[in-house]
């Protein structure tokens, strides 16, 4: 079936590639597609259809032959008509049970009449049986198989920039690119084919001008997958994506040739004339020996020449048009090819095995005249085109139906978007060059390069598209959608059932919803609907064309998938100390430090003990750290926190709670006053970035005389705590450590300037040491060394959680939720309603009168509690109803009791009251409400070093 060398053929005959299909060996050439190589090898059945499992061959050879999807090793749904052949490929058809030869699914064809449009909506739905039917469907459905051993592929993704992006390198695209480049624009030209030229073959002079032009970058084998706002067009290449940002886009995407609809129009051997031309010119493959050409336009007669040159016997030309232009008639006369004008194919005749076409039945259009038969092994169809307009639609182009060319054409184009060539309704070869030059020049001018050339493009003399290439047949099998196996009657029935709107018809019949997204079916479906509803295609309109133009692999979309990670300056030290990490946003924090031979619990308990009885240190560098300076710094804090800061003494700190405008607690931290006009304060780890941004917004609005600096990444922080902490620190600092609880001092630690905040979060004498990040590791090491004698231990997030719980301190986000007010969280003491203003104050005033929904309380389980303890978020149950929930609970080694925090109804929130907690298994546990702190109620330990 391989033809003698064709001029400009794409195959490299010196490079044969062996490959396997359905277990048999074949040989093709470098440059072949899978489909062309198989066709050359005499294979006619490339796959089976989705629903009826009918044999299918090549239809378009233009990347929408969805019936020729193949499994290539681990890769599903490989498009044989567009995928380059590689040596050693092992391929199978996707939609078969068993093999293509013995497809157990063939029986579905016999049941076709049992499966009318939407049949699955109308049956199988008895509540009892549906699961069984569904299992059957799921066994039959789907196309290719995913291979679970496929590794995550990280394909590169890059940004790209250009002045003019030209989509499509056919004649109009080439001439557009050249025109734009000539005017000085930086041009990118993309085409999904391996070579430039589009449907024209050769056009070599223009191509070489384009490829050698310094202003033009060419992307072949590349699909412009969609149009996005501001002229962003992702260019999908074989192994990467370039996200192209253009200043102007020229859509020269051409048109898809459209099939004719007649009985058995899906038999292998029936293909679009353009597909046959591709086989011949690119791959030197003879589509068939003896063909009938179904024509309705000039393109068909141009194609004829190719067929004849390729030595194909053209048995007859059947032309849907009554009046065939004389020059076209002449083409046939010269070669003695019979012409049947005003005729249509009413049926294609299958060969005995039903796996290829063996002849046609034709009859005059719209008459009951006798039918004649012509034997042939191929039918080449050229009856019209549909614009490849998805990008234009996505860009917001208004399209209109042009009855002159029987297609939708751009009516009003968005700013910076241009169209030319077939997609623009221009089909005559010469006109396409002019139209392209015109669009390219306009696009360049739009970007400020040169002025737009005044070029007049002659109107089409005859329509390249037939308005009704559709022939009904009582026995059906006249397919409109080859992806979904939809026949003419299916659409007519859908319309009759009331789905007489293009979108409804699509959804009900699934026309155009297959992998080719309606490239060969939407236009004919639309015509059927228009005729059935007595409206014009223009009135019916088209469905929305969503991205992508062709399906895009997830690996390409995902790219490398950057997931930034933050590390404190002490990260490496923690790692060597055996830290077990837990994620906290972008951070990794030590949950605890593993000790050989000890369980998680033992490790954590050991860390707690170290803090309670000796000394421990935790890295709290993930806290947000902000600095605010200026005459109105205090005023600013006064407005964003619920407590008062104007009166805060220099050298002192104060707990700080932040609400949103509805009075809900969103963050907390500590504010330290370093000078009258200078504060240093912290936020929660998770809140850091957002709080800084929000505070910046407030100050943009308020314009107070102060400036906020974000030091979160610039400062390392460690909390040194425990009865021996003071001793340890004293050995490394010049600062006088007798300063009181909640005070702040500046001094040097291990020779590094530091801010020392006397805090009590964990309930022992403790100090937060803030130093510039570059010194963090050194200071940590020095303190650990100094602490060795005192059995210092680094402690992690879990130990800190427990220590703070013993002190009854809450954690925002764990002991509060999206609706918690300060009052509910037992923070009334911090709320200063007598301030002139703070964010959330007015809302708190509004709800002050209302009864409280819930109240945060501390609770203990009885000392003799045995068995399972409640978990966080177990519910509090009162007389059978939900009365609250546990937010924190832990076994306190210091108190040898289970202690926790819970939200409960106010009427059971008094110390001494009892409530019950329900465990997951339904059993109840009694808890006693107690005052917090649980440990060291008078906070003596954190105030004074012991």
């Amino acid at each position: 079936m391989r033809l003698p060398p064709q001029s400009g053929e794409w195959i490299v005959r010196s490079k044969p590639h062996g490959f396997r299909f359905e277990g048999r060996g074949y040989t093709g050439f470098e440059g072949d597609t899978i489909a062309s190589a198989l066709w050359a090898g005499g294979v006619r059945v490339l796959g089976h259809s989705f629903k009826y499992h009918r044999p299918r061959g090549i239809l378009s050879a233009a990347n929408h032959d969805v019936n020729a999807l193949m499994q290539a090793g681990g890769t599903p749904n490989v498009r044989a008509d567009a995928t380059p052949l590689q040596a050693g490929m092992s391929l199978t058809a996707v939609n078969t049970y068993g093999s293509l030869e013995r497809d157990a699914g063939r029986f579905l064809g016999w049941f076709a009449r049992f499966l009318p449009v939407g049949f699955y909506y109308k049956a199988f739905h008895s509540k009892r049986l549906f699961p069984l039917w569904e299992r059957m469907f799921r066994a039959m459905t789907g196309l290719g198989r995913v291979d679970f051993s496929t590794p995550r592929l990280r394909t590169p993704k890059r940004y790209g920039f250009c002045d003019v992006l030209v989509v499509g390198a056919g004649p109009s695209g080439l001439s557009a690119a050249l025109a734009a480049a000539e005017q000085g624009a930086d041009v990118v030209l993309v085409d999904e084919n391996a070579r430039l030229g589009g449907s024209t073959h050769g056009a070599t002079e223009l191509i070489s001008k384009v490829t050698t032009h310094p202003n033009i970058r060419v992307f072949t084998d590349t699909c412009a997958a969609g149009y996005y706002a501001d002229h962003w067009v992702p260019l999908v290449e074989r192994d990467r994506i370039s996200k192209m940002r253009a200043r102007a886009v020229v859509v020269a995407a051409g048109a898809y040739e459209q099939p004719a609809v007649f009985r058995n129009n899906d038999l292998p051997g029936i293909m679009l004339a353009s597909a046959a031309q591709r086989l011949i010119r690119r791959y030197a493959v003879r589509p068939a020996q003896r063909v009938v050409v179904l024509a309705a336009n000039a393109d068909a007669y141009r194609a004829l020449a190719d067929f004849i040159d390729a030595g194909i016997e053209v048995a007859a030309v059947i032309d849907l048009r009554e009046a065939v232009p004389t020059e076209q008639v002449a083409v046939l006369a010269a070669r003695g090819i019979p012409l049947h004008a005003g005729h249509a194919i009413v049926e294609a005749l299958p060969a005995a095995d039903g796996k290829r076409v063996a002849g046609v039945k034709l009859a005059p259009v719209n008459t009951a005249a006798p039918v004649t038969e012509i034997p042939c092994d191929g039918i080449l169809v050229s009856v019209g085109w549909a614009p490849a307009a998805p990008l234009l639609y996505q860009a917001g182009t208004k399209m209109r139906y042009d009855a002159g060319v029987h297609q939708f054409v751009p009516d009003t184009l968005p700013d910076g978007v241009f169209a030319c060539g077939r997609v623009n309704g221009v089909h005559e070869p010469e006109s396409r060059l002019l139209d392209g030059e015109c669009a390219g020049s306009a696009a360049a001018a739009h970007c400020g390069f040169g002025t737009m050339k005044a070029i007049s493009v002659p109107a089409e003399t005859a329509s390249p598209t037939h308005p009704w290439p559709i022939v009904p047949h009582p026995k059906g099998k006249n397919f409109i959608d080859f992806d979904e196996d939809l026949q003419l009657a299916d659409l007519e029935n859908a319309i009759q059932e009331g789905f007489d709107n293009i979108e409804l018809m699509k959804r009900y019949s699934t026309v155009g919803m297959g992998p080719s997204q309606g490239k060969h079916s939407n236009m004919n479906a639309l015509r059927v609907l228009a005729r059935a509803t007595g409206s014009t295609p223009g009135e019916v309109g088209t469905t929305t064309a969503r991205p992508f133009f062709h399906p895009v692999p997830m690996s390409h979309l995902a790219g490398r998938g950057f997931t930034p990670e933050r590390r404190t300056p002490m990260h490496a030290i923690h790692a060597t100390a055996g830290a077990v990490w837990m994620p906290a946003g972008a951070w990794q924090r030590p949950e605890y430090y593993a000790v050989a031979g000890q369980s998680r619990e033992e490790c954590i308990e050991g860390e707690v003990r170290a803090v309670r009885h000796g000394v421990g240190m935790i890295d709290v560098g993930t806290l947000g750290k902000l600095e605010i300076r200026g005459p109105q710094a205090a005023e600013f804090l006064e407005r964003v926190y619920i407590s008062k800061y104007v009166g805060l003494k220099v050298g002192m700190t104060r707990y700080a709670v932040m609400c949103d405008e509805s009075g809900v607690v969103i963050d907390d931290g500590v504010v330290a006053r370093l000078a009258d006009d200078h504060f240093y304060f912290t936020t929660t780890t998770s809140g850091a970035a957002l709080i800084y941004r929000e505070l910046s917004r407030w100050n943009t609005l308020w314009k107070l005389d102060c400036g906020i600096v974000n030091l979160t990444g610039a400062m390392a922080v460690m909390n040194l705590a425990g009865p021996k902490a003071k001793t340890v620190l004293a050995s490394l600092t010049d600062a006088d450590l007798s300063f009181p609880y909640l005070a702040v001092r500046e001094g040097s630690v291990a020779g590094v300037p530091a801010r020392l905040l006397r805090v009590g979060f964990v309930g022992e004498w403790g100090v937060e040491i803030h130093v510039p990040a570059e010194h963090g590791a050194a200071v940590w090491d020095a303190l650990m060394k100094a602490g060795q004698a005192h059995g210092i231990r680094p402690f992690g997030v879990e130990a800190q959680r427990l220590l703070r719980l013993e002190k009854g301190h809450l954690i925002i986000g764990q002991d509060t939720d999206g609706l918690t007010t300060p009052g509910e969280a037992a923070l009334d003491w911090a709320v200063k309603m007598d301030k002139p203003f703070f964010v959330g104050q007015r809302s708190l005033k509004a709800i002050a009168g209302k009864p409280r929904r819930q109240q945060l309380v501390g609770f203990m389980l009885s000392a003799d509690h045995a068995g399972e303890a409640p978990k966080e978020c177990h519910l509090v149950i009162e007389n059978g109803d939900i009365a609250g929930r546990v937010t924190s609970i832990a076994w306190s080694p210091s108190l040898s009791r289970h202690i926790g925090l819970a939200y409960v109804q106010p009427d059971i929130a008094q110390a001494g009251q009892k409530f019950s907690i329900r465990l997951s298994d339904g059993s109840m546990v009694t808890a006693n409400v107690v005052k917090t702190p649980f440990y060291d109620p008078d906070n003596l330990r954190q105030k004074e070093a012991t």
């Binding site: 940004y159 290449e237 990467r240 950057f562 005389d705 400036g707």
Partner: protein
């Protein structure tokens, strides 16, 4: 194809300052003050960059000058960022794969400073040219530094592999 060289210059002295009075204060310290936002000027042994409207970064020995007593409307900014200098023929490709800014469109003569996001991390970039090859100086939050360096180095490594999809001349 030549590799991309990475130099970690995080140790060079650095200081920052921001606030409505910052520009005047710097001028009073005899430092040249970039007029336009997001531009920089060279200094003996370093540079001064204007980040946005009222923030400045002094990189190099001159940073010491910022230890001078503050005046109202001037707020010091402790700089602890990771600072990298990247240089090489494939640098532009590296930038295209990690950042949405078109650095080639910038006019280097205008000494631009670019505040953007690279591989998902907020960065300050000063693009330049050296020995006919692109180079740039990048600052990012030090706590992202390690990951940022590893990630960029990883991408750069790929870019030096022949056959890598981004190494075909046509799109370079």
């Amino acid at each position: 194809m030549s590799a991309i060289t990475f130099e970690n210059v995080s140790r060079t002295p650095r200081a920052g300052v921001k606030g409505p009075g910052a520009a005047a204060w710097l001028a009073a310290l005899d430092l040249p003050v970039p007029r336009a936002p997001n531009t920089w000027l060279p200094l003996p042994g370093g540079l001064i960059a204007r980040l946005g409207l009222t923030e400045f970064l002094v990189d190099g020995s001159e940073a010491a000058k910022l230890a001078a007593p503050l005046v109202p409307g001037v707020y010091p900014v402790l700089r602890q960022d990771t600072a990298l200098v990247l240089h090489g023929a494939r640098l532009n490709e590296l930038l295209l794969e990690t950042c949405s800014v078109d650095f080639r469109a910038l006019d280097l003569a205008a000494r631009p400073v670019v505040l953007t996001s690279m591989a998902g991390v907020g960065v300050t970039v000063i693009p330049g040219e050296e020995g006919g090859m692109p180079c740039c100086r990048i600052w990012c939050d030090g706590t992202y530094g390690e990951w940022f360096f590893e990630t960029l180095a990883g991408v750069a490594g790929e870019l030096t592999q022949p056959g890598h999809p981004c190494n075909q001349g046509v799109t370079a």
